[in-house]
């Protein structure tokens, strides 16, 4: 997995769900790394994705745009991208543009896993 000093991703799996833990900051410089990772997951036809933000310190519109670029495809394949464990600074950026109406944003990762499992 591509790694930057400023941003890297830890990838885990839980049954048929892929969990990406974002670390560092996600801006115009680092968002291509995230985009590449998400693209490779979707190319492998995995459509249940949880993004864990607990170690992400900052996000700009370049990071938000990555979610917008893939969510439609994922949902068309009966999946979703669920977001969890955001700190208040990062949440306020999502909130600024009304993203909570479009994405499930959960307090804990377990909550996001349960949402997927309850849907099955």
């Amino acid at each position: 997995m591509e790694k930057s000093e400023k941003f890297y991703i830890n990838k885990r799996e839980h049954n048929d769900i892929v969990i990406l833990e974002l670390n560092g900051y996600l801006d115009a410089h680092t968002s291509p790394i995230f985009e590449k990772e998400l693209e490779s997951i979707i190319e492998n036809k995995i459509y249940k994705i949880i993004i864990n933000f607990k170690n992400l310190d900052y996000i700009s519109s370049a990071g938000l745009g990555v979610f917008m670029g893939y969510i439609e495809n994922v949902r068309n394949n009966n999946g979703d991208i669920k977001l969890t464990e955001m700190n208040s600074k990062v949440f306020s950026v999502f909130d600024l543009l009304g993203f909570p109406a479009l994405f499930d944003i959960d307090i804990t990762e377990i909550d996001s896993i349960k949402r997927f499992e309850n849907k099955n």
């Binding site: 115009a28 410089h29 700009s60 519109s61 938000l64 917008m68 600074k89 306020s92 543009l97 009304g98």
Partner: protein, 146 residues
């Protein structure tokens, strides 16, 4: 950012390298927190400046590292003023129409969010394109401390 060394430095310049955005963010965050904004509001101001500089680098400089963007902070309570200058071709973001977020999100569009962020965060935005007397474009942003 080391507080002591930057205490009296109210202008910070970067080249047109996207890797430099982090330095601008640190600079603006230091001053916004010092002025009295809480962590969340300071982060929103940082974000707005990041979006402006990203726009300049991506659309005007096209990663041309020889050009310079300068960010200057001027405070006059309760106003926190940010003056961003560059010598790229002029682009007036204030002329861009506001996006209808509900419709925008429902269509899963991904571009144009940065300008909307700037408009949502700042209380005032003014743009002065370069002219015969001033070779720099100047974007003036104001945020009031409540």
């Amino acid at each position: 950012m080391e507080k002591n060394s930057k205490k009296y430095q109210n202008t910070f310049c970067i080249t047109g390298d996207i890797k430099e955005l982090e330095k601008i963010r640190d600079f603006v965050n230091y001053w916004a927190c010092d002025f009295g904004f809480n962590e969340i509001d300071a982060n929103k101001i940082v974000l707005a400046v990041d979006e402006v500089c990203t726009n300049i680098i991506k659309h005007a400089l096209k990663d041309n590292n020889s050009k310079i963007i300068c960010v200057k902070i001027e405070t006059n309570k309760p106003d926190f003023n940010i003056i961003i200058s560059d010598n790229t071709p002029s682009f007036d973001l204030t002329e861009k129409d506001n996006i209808n977020l509900e419709e925008y999100l429902s269509k899963f569009k991904k571009g144009g969010l940065g300008i909307q962020i700037i408009k949502n965060v700042m209380d005032e935005i003014k743009y002065f394109p370069s002219n015969q007397n001033n070779q720099h474009n100047v974007l003036y942003l104001r945020k009031q401390l409540h």
